[in-house]
């Protein structure tokens, strides 16, 4: 028996289990554990192939089912001759409990549909009824001017925040542009190694230098370039392509000859 069902429609493992039991028209008090387990595991395979977030929870119930299946195969007569409880009992209780609330959810949904047809009016401005008509009218001109100034300065602050926000956005864009630029310089010069200063555009300001440096750091991070320095504060040498690990990175105080 195979059927394709969209897994997303199941709210959880019990939802799936209830679906399987009902589809197979099994008596809830007499679940054919081996058949249900087989079907359940089929779905599990599907779930794990999709790597659903809740697959762990589906797995827990799978384990319960498998354990039940094994217990069902064993004799249920205790050594003292008494009969053990049906091992399925606990699972049945859980399913019944779940079904009860699934039914309750359906009832709530019906009620929701009905309630959607009812409209209310939001509370209106009660000021005319509260005996305190318009407090603003009591303000003298000085208070009014002050309030207006406050409003203006608030607008200014908002403007300021907006400007900064936009600047951040621009910077992000230019880091990538800078990387392209650096790659361009290397390509144009057909060089494998360049000094940091050679990467700067003519008349680069401090911002431009900083950005070039940040772009380089980014390139080092994703291994499209490597950099090193003969000693502290000396010229940074840039080489395209990852050092592959053998390249010594920045060596403070070393005597490595960059050229």
């Amino acid at each position: 028996m195979t059927y394709k069902v969209r897994l997303e429609v199941f709210e959880g493992p019990f939802d799936l289990l209830v679906y399987l039991i009902e589809s197979a028209e099994m008596n809830i008090y007499d679940i054919q554990i081996s058949e249900i387990t087989r079907q359940y595991l089929e779905y599990m395979a599907e779930i794990s192939s999709r790597n659903l977030e809740s697959s762990g929870e589906f797995m827990v119930l799978a384990a319960v089912l498998i354990e039940l299946k094994s217990r069902m195969l064993l004799p249920r007569v205790r050594p003292d001759g008494g009969v053990e409880e049906d091992p399925r009992k606990e699972l049945v209780q859980k399913i019944l409990e779940y079904k009860k609330f699934k039914r309750a959810a359906a009832l709530l949904q019906e009620q929701e549909e009905w309630a959607m047809l009812v409209f209310e009016k939001p509370q209106e401005d009660l000021q005319p009824f509260t005996g305190e008509p318009d407090v603003y009218l009591k303000m003298d001109i000085g208070q009014f001017v002050h309030a207006f100034r406050m409003f203006l300065s608030r607008q200014e602050r908002i403007e300021e925040v907006r400007r900064r926000y936009e600047r951040v956005e621009r910077q992000r864009a230019t880091t990538e542009q800078k990387i392209d630029h650096i790659k361009g310089v290397f390509a144009a010069r057909r060089a494998k190694r360049l000094k940091f200063g050679e990467l700067l555009e003519d008349g680069a300001d401090r911002y431009d230098k900083a950005l070039t440096f940040v772009a380089l750091l980014e390139m080092v991070r994703n291994r499209t370039a490597s950099v090193w320095q003969g000693r502290s504060f000396s010229e940074i040498v840039v080489e395209m392509g990852a050092g592959g690990g053998r390249r010594r990175p920045v060596r403070a105080g070393g005597s490595f000859d960059a050229e």
Binding site: E11, G12, P13, F14, D15, N27, I28, Y29, D30, Q32, I33, S54, E57, V60, L61, M72, L73, P75, R76, V77, P79, G81, V83, D86, K94, L96, E97, Y98, K99, K100, F101, K102, R103, A104, A105, A106, L107, L108, Q109, Q111, E112, W114, A115, M116, L117, V118, F119, E120, K121, P122, Q123, E124, L126, F129
Partner: protein, 199 residues
Amino acid sequence: MTLNDREFKSAFESMMFIWGEPLDARTAAEAVGLGADEAYGLFKEIQREYDESGRGLAVREIGGAFQFVTRVENFDYLRRLCTPVKEKRLSQAALETLAIIAYRQPVTKGEIDVIRGVKSERIIEGLAKKELVEEKGRADAVGKPILYGTTAGFLRYFGFESLAELPEIDDIEDALRSAEPDATDEPEQISLSLGGTDE
């Protein structure tokens, strides 16, 4: 000066009209200098009168507060007039979780998870954000887990007057129980007798 019932009811109607939001019977009672129980009774009378005379407005109770709302039957006409917008409906998962909270309250997240078989944390958060459920205190158990219950917003959302109006669900359970087959009826189970002492 004391008012008679008719005048009290008239006052309450006006107050409901102005208030818009559900008006607590106690608040209204204080305003007119009446006992809370009497006021509640009068509000119920107003509600009944509106129902019986089939007015286009109905009086809705939400946990002891009263509010004018439109009559359900007029929904179609309202829609033709102005296409009223209502918020999105709740998801299946949200309804399930809400049902457990409504019927089992106060209830912990752990208890909800056990019944549903999945983690419900994010759904509970969503319901709390919609002000349908809220914290009702802490359970006296390990870790002092939060107890959840429904809010007045829940009653309002579903149009329940009180929690007593929640549809009965234990009936369903009982019906299922009565369908339980005899304990001796075990078709799948293989019973092995050890030592042949069984009949």
